[in-house]
Subunit: 182 residues, 2 copies
């Protein structure tokens, strides 16, 4: 029965378990991997590292390169146990989405003609995300099973979204065309 992990604490512990040991390195890795479904900023990471240390889940020692300060964190026994507990428990998974494009789409009939443009903007966004994910995959052909799974899921999801947008754009264009013609 270890203490429950805070939201940001989860990513931090996981990243430290993967071998990344400074706040800076954790941020780098988050930005290249989980950021699409779980972001973290310095403003969260550094204070949280301190809290985790106070709670005894990580242990940090100074590991400077020359005169440049650097902290090297590693998991304690308790930290490894907390990470295991969290990974083993599949209940109460948070899921939060805030998608302004969908909100605009929801209200699109209030301002006729905006639906097509909104879906177009939505497609552009997801296309960009898909390209970024492809670049990540290309840059690291070998990766652990977990990251590989989420990358595959992200790629599939964005691809589905791009296709939906394209199909919907065609349909909306056809409908407005028919309306004009008849």
């Amino acid at each position: 029965m270890t203490a429950p992990l805070s939201a940001t604490g989860r990513v931090i512990l996981g990243m430290i378990a993967r071998g990344k040991r400074s706040g800076y390195e954790i941020k780098q890795l988050v930005d290249r991997s989980t950021r699409y479904f779980w972001a973290a900023s310095y403003g969260q990471i550094y204070p949280e590292l301190r809290r985790l240390e106070e709670a005894g889940l990580v242990r940090g020692r100074s590991d400077p390169s020359g005169a440049r300060a650097k902290m090297a964190y590693e998991l304690t026994e308790e930290g490894a146990a907390a990470l295991r507990d969290w990974l083993t428990d599949a209940t109460g998974l948070t899921y939060e989405l805030r998608d302004e494009a969908m909100l605009k789409l929801f209200f699109s009939d209030l301002e006729p003609g905006t639906a097509l443009e909104t879906v177009g903007a939505m497609r552009t966004l997801h296309e960009a995300k898909r390209e970024q994910l492809r670049a990540i995959r290309a840059a690291a052909p070998e990766m652990p099973a977990g990251p590989a799974l989420t990358l595959e899921l992200g790629l599939g999801l964005t691809s589905w979204l791009v296709d939906w947008c394209r199909a919907t754009e065609e349909r909306l264009a056809r409908e407005s065309h028919v309306k004009v013609e008849v």
Copy 2:
């Protein structure tokens, strides 16, 4: 050039434009429609309604039913213009996701055997969401074009996710089976 709309202000203005006029009604409608991609709580709605009124975007008057207090809000000219401006502008669309299931999946290789369970929990969640969306569609066969579009998108998306989870569960089960057998 009207003032930019705050996050919650967007939903509120849209819902008022759809005819919902009290904070309570707005919350009800949000919970039955946009909540899957854009939530709102009373703690946001009531203060925001006041701010919108101070900014001159909505106008509220008391409209009690008997001795039960009730406020009826409607859009002002400025409010309608702000809503139009927002709907017409397809740039800078916020998109934020926080999906703990995907995060656990990302770290699943740190604790062998958890991937299958995590994907299973993920599927259960999306199946439930899909059922809720189906219930909404069944309860309101006639709906405006905007809500119909987002409902269709939500249903398609959750269905794709459920299918991906199912396929991945099969694959993971097969792989672990092979591992045991060889």
